[in-house]
C-alpha cells in the first residue's frame, strides 16, 4: 500500500470517529430526550435542556478543534503537511 493510501485510510478512520461523536451529540442523546430531561444535570438545569442550550454546542466546538489537531498529526506522519511559509 502506498504512502498516500495509508494516509487516506487513517484520515477516513478519523472521519468515522468524528462522525460517531457528532452523531451522539446531535442525534443520539435526543432519542432519549424526554427520559433524560427528568434528571438534573450541570448547573442544575435538566439534562436535555442543558444539552440543547450548551452541552451539545460546546461539544461540537471541542470536537472540531480535536479533529483538526488529529488530522494535522496524520498529515505530518505521512509527510503531507503544508510548508510553513505558505
Amino acid at each position: 500500500m502506498s504512502n498516500q493510501e495509508k494516509h487516506w485510510e487513517k484520515s477516513r478512520g478519523l472521519l468515522m470517529i468524528t462522525l460517531a461523536i457528532w452523531f451522539v451529540f446531535s442525534i443520539g442523546i435526543f432519542l432519549f430526550g424526554a427520559e433524560m430531561n427528568e434528571v438534573t444535570g450541570p448547573f442544575g438545569y435538566p439534562w436535555t435542556y442543558w444539552f440543547t442550550c450548551q452541552g451539545s454546542l460546546g461539544a461540537f466546538v471541542i470536537l472540531i478543534f480535536w479533529f483538526a489537531n488529529r488530522q494535522e498529526k496524520i498529515d505530518e506522519e505521512f509527510g503531507f503537511s503544508e510548508r510553513e511559509d505558505e
Binding site: 498516500q4 484520515s11 457528532w22 446531535s26 436535555t48 461540537f60 483538526a68 498529515d75
Partner: protein, 603 residues
C-alpha cells in the same frame, strides 16, 4: 489595506475599533442622561456603525481577481472565524431566535443544535478539501471535479435558488430595523438597507466583505451579550447567566403548571393581530417527539454544510490547516451568541410572567398593564397585544401576545434598561442582517460572474472586465432581492429554513461525494443536483398545497427528502455510467492531501 503589514496589525486595528465602539456607547449613554431623545440615539447608532462599515468597504477596494473573489487567501484563522460567524448569524439568529425559543421551547431548540452541529460536517467532510482545491466559488469545485458546463451550471442553479431565498429575508430584516431606527416607511428603508449592504461589498468584493464582517461581528456580539448580562444582574438572577439560571428555568416550569396552558377559541384568536403569539408550549420540558426534533436538527446540519456563502469563507484562509482550525473558531464565536439566546428567552419570559416580580404582568389588571409605557410603545409597533378574553379584568397567560422579534428588541426596555441599550441592539441586528446579506449576494454574484460568465460564456475575458461584470451583477441581484423583500411575502425565519433545505437537497451529496467517493462522475452529479432540487421543491409545493407528507417530513425539513433522492440518483446514475477518467481520479487523490499546489493553481 493591502500590505501584509495590515494582516500583522489586525489585532491592534480591531482592538482600537472595539475600544472606539465601546467609547461610542458610553458617549451615547451620557448623551441620554443629558436629554438626547430616544429617536436621535437610534439614528446615531445605526448611522455611525453603517458609516464605519462603508469606510472599511472603501478602504478594501481592489482591482485584483484574487482579492475580489477570495480576499487574497490571507485571512488569519481567528479573524476568518469572526467573519464567518457574522456571515452565518443572520437577522434571524439575532432578532428571531430567542423569540422562537421563548414561544416554542424545546422543539425550537433543535435549530440551536442543527445550526452548530453542521460545522462538524463542514470541518471534517468539506472545508479543508475545497480549500486545497483552490476554487473561487462552490460551482467552481463542482465544475472542475466533475467536468463540463452542465454540471457547473446545475451547481449555479442550486446555489442561486438557496441563496436568493435566504437573501430576501436578510434584506427584509435590514429594512425592518432601518425603518424602526430611522423612523421611515419600510418600502424606503429596504433600499437604505440595500445601499448599506452594497457599500461593503461592491468595491472590495470578498476582501471588503471579510473586513466589514469582522467589524460587524464585534458590534453584534456586544449588542447581544451586554443586555443579557445586564438584565440577569438587574433581576438578581446571577452575574453569569449561562451557569446560574437553573432556578429561573425551574420557576418558569412551576408558573406554567400553576397557570396552565389554556387554549384560546378560534374566534378569540382571530382578534389578535397577525404575527403575534402567546405562550402555548412548555419552556424547558421536552415537548416534541424525538423524530420531530432530530429531523429538524439533521436538515439544518446538512444544510449548513451545503450553503455556499459559508463554504466560500474557508477559501480565504492561507492554508488547508488554517481552514480546518478556522471552522473551529467560527463555531466558537457562534457558540457565544447561540448559548445566550436561551438565557435571554428565560430572562424575558420570567420577567413578564412572574407575578412576584415588579415587571411581571400576568395577574395584574388589564387597565394597569395597558397604562405601562413600554406596553404602549410596542403595542403601537404591533408587537404586543392584550385582550381580556374571559372578561375577569386581569391578564392571564393566554391573554398576552407578543411578536417573535419583541423578545430581543423589547426585553431591555421591559427590564428597565436605558434606551442606549435598545439603540445598541438595533445596531447589532442591523450588523447581523447586513453581514449575512453581503455574504449571500456576493456568493450569487460571484457564481454567476465567475462560473457562468467567465468559465462558460467568455473564457478569454480580462480581469478588469470580469470584475465589472461581477459588480454589475452584485447590484442587480441586490435590487432584485430588495424588490422582493419590499413586497413582504414571507416571514424571516421560514424562508431562512427553506434556504437550508434547498441547499442540502441539491448540493450536499454532490459536494461530499466529490471528495469522498472517487467513482462519482459527471452524469451522477448532475442527476444528484437537479434530481435533488426538483424532488425537494416538489415536496415543498405538495405539502404547502395540502399534501399530507410522509415519514413526518414537514415543509421545514423537506431537504431530508430532497437529499435522499439526490443521493440515490447520484449513486445509481454514477454506477450505470462510465467511471471518471484517470486525470479526474488523480485530481481527487491530490485534493485529499494538504501538501502541494492547489488544484486550480493561481488563476
Amino acid at each position: 489595506m493591502k500590505s501584509t503589514n495590515f494582516i500583522d496589525n489586525l489585532p491592534r486595528v480591531y482592538g482600537i475599533y472595539t475600544g472606539g465602539f465601546i467609547g461610542f456607547i458610553i458617549i451615547m449613554a451620557i448623551a441620554e442622561q443629558m436629554g438626547m431623545s430616544a429617536k436621535a440615539i437610534g439614528i446615531a447608532f445605526v448611522a455611525f456603525t453603517v458609516f464605519i462599515y462603508a469606510l472599511i468597504g472603501w478602504l478594501s477596494r481592489t482591482a485584483q481577481a484574487d482579492a475580489y473573489y477570495v480576499a487574497g487567501r490571507q485571512v488569519p484563522t481567528v479573524f476568518n472565524g469572526m467573519a464567518t460567524a457574522a456571515d452565518w448569524m443572520s437577522g434571524a439568529s439575532f432578532v428571531a431566535m430567542a423569540g422562537g425559543i421563548y414561544f416554542k421551547g424545546y422543539g425550537y431548540m433543535a435549530l440551536l443544535v442543527g445550526w452548530t452541529g453542521g460545522y462538524v460536517l463542514v470541518a471534517s467532510l468539506l472545508a479543508p478539501y475545497l480549500r486545497k482545491f483552490g476554487c473561487y466559488t462552490v460551482p467552481d469545485f463542482i465544475g472542475t471535479r466533475y467536468g463540463g458546463n452542465l454540471a457547473r451550471f446545475s451547481a449555479v442553479v442550486v446555489l442561486t435558488v438557496a441563496s436568493f431565498t435566504y437573501v430576501t429575508a436578510q434584506i427584509n430584516a435590514t429594512g425592518t430595523i432601518a425603518s424602526v431606527a430611522l423612523d421611515i416607511p419600510f418600502q424606503y428603508a429596504v433600499y437604505i438597507g440595500l445601499i448599506s449592504i452594497l457599500l461593503c461589498s461592491m468595491l472590495g468584493g470578498m476582501r471588503g466583505v471579510t473586513w466589514t464582517q469582522v467589524a460587524q461581528y464585534i458590534v453584534l456580539i456586544i449588542a447581544y451579550l451586554l443586555p443579557v448580562f445586564w438584565i440577569s444582574n438587574k433581576m438578581g438572577a446571577g452575574f453569569f447567566p449561562h451557569f446560574m439560571l437553573a432556578d429561573e428555568v425551574a420557576r418558569i416550569g412551576e408558573l406554567e403548571s400553576q397557570f396552565g396552558f389554556v387554549k384560546n377559541s378560534a374566534a378569540d384568536l382571530a382578534t389578535v393581530p397577525k404575527g403575534l403569539a402567546g405562550i402555548t408550549k412548555a419552556h424547558s420540558a421536552v415537548n416534541a417527539t424525538p423524530w420531530a426534533f432530530i429531523s429538524l436538527a439533521l436538515a439544518m446540519m446538512m444544510g449548513t454544510a451545503s450553503l455556499p456563502h459559508v463554504m466560500m469563507r474557508y477559501f480565504t484562509t492561507p492554508s488547508v490547516k488554517a481552514a480546518r482550525k478556522s471552522v473551529g473558531w467560527s463555531l466558537f464565536f457562534i457558540f457565544l451568541l447561540y448559548s445566550s439566546a436561551p438565557m435571554l428567552a428565560t430572562l424575558s419570559k420570567l420577567s413578564l410572567i412572574d407575578p412576584t416580580l415588579s415587571t411581571g404582568i400576568i395577574g395584574k389588571s388589564v387597565s394597569e398593564v395597558q397604562a405601562i409605557d413600554w406596553y404602549q410603545n410596542w403595542n403601537s409597533a404591533n408587537l404586543m397585544f392584550i385582550s381580556d378574553f374571559n372578561g375577569n379584568g386581569t391578564v392571564e397567560l393566554n391573554e398576552f401576545f407578543m411578536g417573535g422579534k419583541a423578545v430581543v428588541l423589547a426585553t431591555p426596555e421591559i427590564a428597565g434598561l436605558p434606551y442606549v441599550i435598545s439603540g445598541l441592539v438595533a445596531a447589532g441586528g442591523m450588523a447581523a442582517a447586513m453581514s449575512t446579506a453581503d455574504g449571500l449576494i456576493l456568493a450569487i454574484a460571484n457564481a454567476i460572474s465567475h462560473d457562468v460568465y467567465y468559465k462558460i460564456i467568455d473564457p478569454k475575458a480580462e480581469t478588469a472586465k470580469r470584475l465589472v461584470v461581477a459588480r454589475v451583477l452584485l447590484v442587480v441581484i441586490g435590487f432584485a432581492g430588495a424588490t422582493i423583500a419590499a413586497m413582504e411575502i414571507q416571514g424571516i425565519l421560514g424562508s431562512v429554513i427553506w434556504a437550508f433545505d434547498f441547499a442540502m437537497s441539491g448540493l450536499f451529496f454532490p459536494l461530499v461525494l466529490g471528495v469522498w467517493w472517487k467513482r462519482a462522475n459527471r452524469q451522477g452529479a448532475i442527476a444528484g443536483m437537479l434530481g435533488g432540487l426538483a424532488a425537494g421543491t416538489w415536496y415543498l409545493v405538495w405539502v404547502r398545497t395540502g399534501g399530507s407528507g410522509f415519514l413526518g417530513i414537514t415543509q421545514l425539513t423537506f431537504g431530508i427528502f430532497g437529499s435522499a433522492v439526490s443521493l440515490v440518483a447520484m449513486v445509481v446514475v454514477s454506477l450505470m455510467t462510465q467511471e471518471p477518467d484517470k486525470a479526474t481520479q488523480k485530481m481527487v487523490d491530490e485534493v485529499r492531501v494538504p501538501s502541494g499546489k492547489t488544484i486550480l493553481g493561481k488563476q
